[in-house]
C-alpha cells in the first residue's frame, strides 16, 4: 500500500536546516494495522504527512499503491488524499463553523457531490462511529472524544483504502483514547482497511499488528 525509499525531509527556517527524516525506508502492505512509535521530534508526524500525501519529500521515493506520489503536483496529491487516504489528526481539525454532518460531508462536497447525497452518506458514517444523534452539533458543542469520532467519520466518508491517524488520542483522556483505538481496531477487523497510527502510548501500540519505531528521522527496527 505504502512504500518509502530512502526518504529525506529537510525544513529550512530562517536559514537553519532541520532534518526531519534522514533516509527512511519502509513498506506497509494493504490491510496491515501498524503503529508508529518514537519520541517527540523523531519525525513520526513528518513520516505520516509524507505517506498521507500532505507533504512531499526533499529526497527519496514515495509510492502509494505503486504510484510514485513524490513527484506529483498539488492537485494530483489532493485527489489521492480524497480518494485513497483518510487522515485523522491529533487536534481533530474540524471546521468550527460547520456542523458534525457538514464536516463529515466536506470531502464528498469537495469532490463535486451534491449536498443532499453527501449529507445522507455522512449521517450513515456518523451513525457507524456512534454519533448518529449528534449530527447537527458544531465542534465546540462536542467533547474531545466526540470530535475525534467526527474526524474519523470524515476520514471514512470516501471509503479510502487506508486510515492514517497522527496521535489520535493525544488530546483525549484515557477512557476516550481507549474508545478511539477500539473504534480503529473494529474498523480494521470489519473492513480490512490499512490502519497506520502514530502514538506515544506503548500499550495502545502493542494492540497493532506491527510496530515501527523511529528515532532521529530514521526507522530503527
Amino acid at each position: 500500500m505504502f512504500e518509502l525509499q530512502d526518504v529525506c525531509k529537510v525544513y529550512e527556517m530562517k536559514g537553519v536546516e532541520t532534518h526531519a527524516l534522514r533516509g527512511a525506508t519502509l513498506e506497509i502492505r494493504k490491510g496491515e494495522y501498524v503503529a508508529i512509535l518514537g519520541p517527540s521530534g523523531s519525525g513520526k508526524s513528518t513520516l505520516m504527512h509524507i505517506m498521507g500525501c500532505l507533504d512531499t519529500p526533499t529526497k527519496g521515493g514515495v509510492f502509494v499503491e505503486g504510484r510514485k506520489v513524490s513527484e506529483m503536483n498539488d492537485d494530483e496529491l489532493a485527489r489521492i488524499r480524497r480518494e485513497k487516504i483518510g487522515f485523522v489528526f491529533q487536534a481533530y481539525n474540524l471546521i468550527p463553523g460547520l456542523t458534525a454532518i457538514e464536516n463529515v460531508a466536506l470531502p464528498l462536497r469537495l469532490g463535486g457531490h451534491g449536498r443532499g447525497e453527501s449529507q445522507r452518506k455522512a449521517k450513515e458514517v456518523l451513525r457507524k462511529v456512534g454519533l448518529g444523534e449528534r449530527t447537527t452539533h458544531k465542534p465546540n458543542e462536542l467533547s474531545g472524544g466526540e470530535q475525534q469520532r467526527v474526524a474519523i467519520a470524515r476520514s471514512l466518508i470516501n471509503d479510502p483504502d487506508a486510515i492514517l491517524a497522527d496521535e489520535p488520542t493525544g488530546n483525549l483522556d484515557t477512557k476516550s483514547g481507549k474508545e478511539i483505538f477500539e473504534l480503529l481496531e473494529n474498523l480494521h477487523k470489519k473492513t480490512g482497511k490499512t490502519i497506520i497510527v502514530v502514538t506515544h502510548d506503548i500499550n495502545l501500540a502493542k494492540r497493532a499488528h506491527r510496530e515501527i519505531r523511529i528515532m532521529d528521522g530514521k526507522i530503527v527496527n
Binding site: H49, L54, D55, D74, D75, A78, R79, R81, R82, E83, F87, F89, A91, N93, L94, I95, P96, G97, L98, L106, P107, R109, L110, G111, R115, R154, N158
Partner: protein
C-alpha cells in the same frame, strides 16, 4: 459549494458587511453620477432650440461669467440698435430676439416672437389648459413645473420683475425642457424687464442654409462685442459640456472603484488569512486548487451581486430625492436600464477581479503549515 460560500459569509458578518459597504458605495456613486449625466444628455436631446440652420448671437462672454449665482443670466443684453443692424444684414430671412431671465432659481422666462415659436420646436406643445398668448397679449404660457410651484391656473397672475403677469396657458407635464420655462411675447417681456428693445440672444435664420457660415463671419467681423454660433458650434459646445460631465462621472466612479477594490482586496485577504487553518483542512481532505479558487470567488460573487443590486435600488431613491426635493421636480437625473444593468455588471466584475489576489493566496495555502500554525 455555493451554500458553503454563503455560510462562510454569514459566519463573518462584520467582514461581510464591510466588504459589501465598499462595493455598495462605489456602485451608488457611479449610478447616481451616471444618472445625472444620462439625464442631462436626454434633456439636451429633448430641447427644441436645436433647430437646424440658425445662427445664435449673444454678447461675448467669458466662461467664468457663466459660473456662480445667476450663471448665464449675468451676460449683458444686446442693444436695440445692434438688433436693427443684424436685421438689415444681407441673406437674412428671420431675426428673432429673445429676452431670457432667470426665475425662481430653476426656471427661465423667455420673451420671444409668438409667431416664430417653430424656431424652438415649440409649435406642437400640448397645453394642459389655455393656449399660446398672442404677440399683443399681456400674459404668459407656463411650463408645468413653475405652474405647480406657484400653484396657479389660467387667469391667475404671477409676479415677474415686480409686475403682475396673467397666466394664459399651462403646458402639459412631460414637455421636456419646456417643463421649466415661462414663455411670453417679446414686446411684453421688453416692457417687464425694461430691456429697451434689446435682447439676451438673437436667433437668425438665413435665406439659404449655405449662408450660415457667411452670416456668422460677418457678425463676428463687424461686432467685436458679439459671439455668433452656428448649430454646429452649439452642438459641439453641448457635447463639450456633456463630455466634461461624462469625464467627471468616469473620474469619480474610477476613484470610488479604486477605493472599493482596495477595500475588497484587504477584507478578502484578511478573510483568507483568518481562515488559513480552515483552508488547510479543506486542502488536507482533498480540495483541489480550483475548488478553493472557486470558493473564494463565489463569496465575492454573492457579495457583489447582493450589494450592487442593493446599490442600484438605493440609487433610484437618491435620484428621486435629488429630482423631487433638491431640484424641485425637475427630472434631471435618470437611471436608464443600461446604466442599472451596467452598474451591477461592473460591481460584480470589480469584486471578482479584486478577489483574484486573495483567492490566489488561498490556493497557495500549504495544508501542513496552515494546520500546524493556524
Amino acid at each position: 459549494m455555493l451554500d458553503l460560500a454563503l455560510k462562510d459569509l454569514k459566519e463573518h458578518k462584520v467582514r461581510t458587511i464591510l466588504t459589501a459597504l465598499g462595493i455598495f458605495i462605489a456602485i451608488t456613486a457611479i449610478v447616481s453620477l451616471g444618472s445625472i449625466s444620462a439625464g442631462v444628455n436626454e434633456l439636451i436631446a429633448s430641447s427644441g432650440i436645436l433647430g437646424s440652420d440658425y445662427v445664435f448671437v449673444m454678447k461675448s462672454f467669458e466662461i467664468s461669467e457663466m459660473i456662480g449665482p445667476g450663471g448665464a443670466y449675468q451676460i449683458e443684453d444686446i442693444e436695440a440698435d445692434t438688433l436693427e443692424e443684424l436685421k438689415s444684414l444681407s441673406g437674412v430671412d428671420r431675426v428673432v430676439p429673445i429676452i431670457a431671465r432667470q426665475f425662481g432659481g430653476f426656471f427661465e422666462v423667455d420673451g420671444l416672437d409668438m409667431d416664430n415659436v417653430d424656431m424652438f420646436g415649440a409649435e406642437n406643445l400640448e397645453f394642459k389648459e389655455g393656449g399660446w398668448p398672442e404677440n399683443e397679449d399681456r400674459g404668459a404660457a407656463l411650463g408645468f413645473l413653475p405652474a405647480s410651484m406657484l400653484d396657479v391656473v389660467v387667469g391667475d397672475y404671477i409676479t415677474l420683475n415686480k409686475k403682475e403677469v396673467e397666466v394664459m396657458g399651462i403646458f402639459e407635464e412631460g414637455s421636456g425642457a419646456y417643463d421649466l420655462v415661462i414663455l411670453m411675447p417679446y414686446d411684453y417681456a421688453d416692457e417687464i424687464y425694461e430691456t429697451e428693445g434689446g435682447a439676451t440672444q438673437i436667433i437668425i435664420e438665413p435665406e439659404d442654409v449655405t449662408l450660415v457660415e457667411e452670416i456668422k463671419q460677418t457678425i463676428e467681423d463687424e461686432h467685436d462685442d458679439l459671439d455668433a454660433m452656428t448649430m454646429e458650434d452649439a452642438l459641439s459646445m453641448m457635447e463639450e459640456v456633456t463630455g466634461t460631465l461624462n469625464i467627471m462621472t468616469f473620474g469619480i466612479g474610477f476613484i470610488a472603484s479604486i477605493v472599493a477594490a482596495i477595500g475588497i482586496i484587504i477584507t478578502m485577504y484578511t478573510s483568507v488569512l483568518e481562515r488559513r487553518r480552515q483552508l488547510g483542512i479543506m486542502k488536507a481532505v482533498g480540495a483541489l486548487r480550483r475548488t478553493i479558487l472557486i470558493q473564494i470567488l463565489q463569496e465575492g460573487l454573492l457579495l457583489s451581486v447582493a450589494s450592487s443590486v442593493l446599490a442600484v435600488g438605493i440609487s433610484f431613491f437618491f435620484v428621486d430625492l435629488l429630482n423631487n426635493v433638491l431640484l424641485g421636480g425637475i427630472n434631471l437625473a435618470v437611471i436608464t436600464p443600461v446604466l442599472a444593468i451596467g452598474a451591477v455588471a461592473y460591481g460584480v466584475l470589480l469584486t471578482v477581479i479584486s478577489s483574484l489576489y486573495p483567492a490566489w493566496i488561498a490556493v497557495k495555502t500549504d495544508p501542513i503549515k496552515a494546520i500546524r500554525e493556524g
